[in-house]
């Protein structure tokens, strides 16, 4: 199986307010089609790790590979192109652009990539929305829909450019159990039907247990990896 994401000896320090070694020698791999979760207590460094893996945070030592290509040390513009093309991101708070309609929110990353015509992008966006069962909301303003719906729109947006990996930072942290379940099922379906790789940081043990395996973190180190399969 191909490696989608690989971290090698990643170390990170916070310098403010005082020097703090937040990530210590993190190394792991995620293979194509895997659904992994990272768990750990607050302050264990799991979110920090995720933002490094997402290429948004560049202040670390070590090496990060995406699709076997080194991304450490690339310029900010190159990294934003990589994010645009290869990484889908889902946040705890849904973070849609509230002035735009649902379908426009979904289309935005594809428009930025500009590989397809407007019609094709719109078609893709409607298809993603249909897949997530919210195509009826397409023309609604993003500020007018419920939390669960927002999170599904955010997932559709993360998928619009057919990324190599979908990352989630507590994607169900702000949802009730019904919507959490819903989101999990969507993720599962994406893995099984589309062969998508997923990496999700979560507090939710029930959620984590249903993923392929859990990477357990404590005090900035990976302390264990338990398979659920």
């Amino acid at each position: 199986m191909d490696i989608v994401l690989e971290a090698k000896d990643i170390n990170k320090h916070f310098h403010k307010p005082k020097d703090f070694h937040v990530l210590k020698d993190i190394s792991f791999k995620i293979f194509n089609g895997e659904f992994a979760s990272i768990m750990g207590k607050s302050g264990s460094g799991k979110s920090t790790l995720l933002y490094i893996l997402s290429t948004m945070d560049t202040e670390y030592t070590g090496e990060l590979f995406l699709n076997n290509k080194l991304v450490t040390g690339l310029s900010a513009t190159e990294l934003s192109l990589i994010r645009n093309e290869n990484i889908g991101f889902v946040f705890q708070f849904h973070y849609l652009l509230s002035e735009f309609s649902v379908v426009e929110n979904v289309m935005l990353p594809a428009k930025k990539l500009a590989r397809k015509s407007h019609q094709e992008i719109e078609h893709d966006a409607m298809q993603k929305l249909k897949m997530l069962g919210i195509e009826s909301l397409a023309l609604q303003k993003a500020s007018r829909i419920s939390g669960g719906e927002k999170q599904r729109v955010a997932i559709a947006r993360a998928l619009i450019n057919n990324p190599s990996i979908l990352m989630g930072d507590e994607p169900t942290g702000n949802l009730d159990s019904y919507n959490s379940d819903n989101v999990f099922n969507i993720f599962k379906q994406l893995k099984e039907e589309e062969g998508l790789s997923l990496l999700v940081v979560t507090h939710d043990e029930d959620f984590a247990k249903r993923t392929d395996y859990i990477i357990q973190m404590e005090d900035g180190r990976i302390v264990g990896k338990s398979s659920n399969l």
Binding site: T77, S80, L81, L97, E99, L108, K111, R157, N161
Partner: protein, 419 residues
């Protein structure tokens, strides 16, 4: 760079914040509108004042200054060279009013490339006779058609026409003050007498009004030949030559040259109206100072509004960056908002300025100095509109630059993690 997406986001931001956008754009509109109005009106006034002076003053004026000879006879006598010479009651030389070789000089001047035209004049001190009253004044003999070509003398002839003088040998263009003093009208006859006592009747073919009371109360115009005849002088008797140049900037240099070349006194227009330029410059300075102040205020308005917008849109900026928009993209989103405000506000400002200028242009304004003027003078030069829009774009660019740089450097991780 993906401009359609960037402009679409900018547009959406602007439209959802319509009030702020309108406030910012109106700031620019008023700044530019005020600039256009002020500069058009001020320049119109300046030009009017320029015309007032420039059209009545030749660029270079040649004449013979009345002065005593520098080399008095005694200094020519060698034996007195080592003595102190004292001469009392020196008188100016006789017959000096006339410019020597005036006709050849005139021909030479007319052939020069720098010279647009040169006209000969004969000035004579005369008396206007009205019953037993004698009014002193001057009579100027002119080549009237040449004068009307080179200056806007025609504007100052409020009754009659220069052509009438040209065809009438013993015609006179009487000063308006003189006409009302002596109750004379076109078609009447006026008697004048020279200092020597000879009396001539002249027919009034026009009334002349310069707007300067002193001139209108004493000065009249006749044909060159008529004045020469009145004075009993030959056709080469010419006291003044007025020169109009193609380029007024050359006046001082050429005046110096003529002085040496023709052995006459030459005054140029800058010398004659030195204080005049200063007034023009100061008015321009005030116009630009006020306009720039207005635009700086408008600029601060834009800066403020964009800054607020960026704080409001922190999360949007973070999400755009997380989904693959680069710092540059985000910067351009906010820069284009500033520029859209600048363009819309600027164009509206040009329109506002134009409307106000038209309104001012329609306000009635009469002055004796310029009989042709009926409304306030406004200068509708395209140049001011170009400067105005460039001003608007530059000031909004600077006002948008700083906030957009801030947006460019926002760290999405910090925003998303809420730290």
């Amino acid at each position: 760079m993906n401009w359609p997406v960037i402009l679409n986001i900018a547009k959406t931001h602007l439209l959802t914040k319509m009030k702020s956008t309108a406030t910012a754009a109106l700031g620019v509109t008023f700044g530019i509108g005020a600039y256009i109005t002020m500069v058009s009106f001020m320049t119109g006034l300046n030009n009017m004042l320029d015309d007032l002076v420039l059209n009545q003053t030749p660029h270079i004026h040649l004449y013979n200054e009345i002065e005593p000879t520098i080399d008095q006879p005694v200094s020519l006598y060698e034996q007195f060279n080592n003595s102190v010479q004292m001469i009392s009651s020196i008188k100016p030389k006789n017959g000096q009013k006339k410019i020597h070789n005036a006709l050849p000089i005139l021909n030479l001047l007319k052939q020069m490339d720098e010279v647009k035209g040169a006209t000969a004049q004969v000035r004579a001190q005369i008396f206007y006779l009205s019953g037993s009253i004698e009014l002193s004044g001057n009579l100027i003999g002119v080549d009237i058609m040449e004068e009307t070509r080179l200056s806007n003398m025609r504007d100052y002839i409020i009754e009659g026409s220069p052509e009438a003088l040209n065809t009438m040998d013993n015609g006179i263009l009487l000063g308006s003050g003189l006409a009302s003093k002596m109750s004379l009208r076109i078609g009447d006859r006026v008697q004048i007498s020279t200092a020597q006592g000879a009396v001539f009747p002249l027919k009034i073919v026009g009334i002349y009004q310069s707007g300067v009371a002193d001139i209108d109360n004493s000065q009249s115009y006749c044909n060159l030949k008529t004045v020469q005849r009145i004075l009993g002088e030959a056709q080469n008797y010419i006291t003044d030559i007025n020169i109009k140049l193609n380029n007024i900037e050359n006046a001082p240099i050429l005046a110096k040259g003529f002085e040496k070349q023709f052995d006459v006194t030459a005054t140029d227009i800058n010398e004659a109206n030195a204080q005049f330029e200063t007034g023009t410059n100061i008015r321009n300075l005030i116009t630009y100072a006020v306009s720039i102040t207005l635009l700086i205020v408008a600029g601060f308005g834009i800066y403020n509004i964009l800054n607020m917008l960026i704080y409001e849109k922190m999360k949007d900026i973070a999400i755009l960056k997380a989904t693959g928009f680069s710092g540059k993209d985000v910067q351009y989103i906010f820069m284009s908002q500033a520029m859209i405000i600048g363009i819309v506000g600027g164009v509206l400002g040009l329109v506002l300025g134009f409307i106000l200028s038209v309104l001012i242009d329609g306000v009635p304004f009469k002055t004796e100095a310029l009989p042709t003027m009926t409304t306030y003078p406004v200068d509708f030069s395209v140049m001011y509109y170009v400067i105005g829009i460039v001003f608007a774009l530059i000031s909004t660019f600077i006002a948008g630059w700083l906030p957009s740089i801030k947006a460019k450097h926002i760290d999405p991780v910090k925003i998303i993690r809420g730290t």
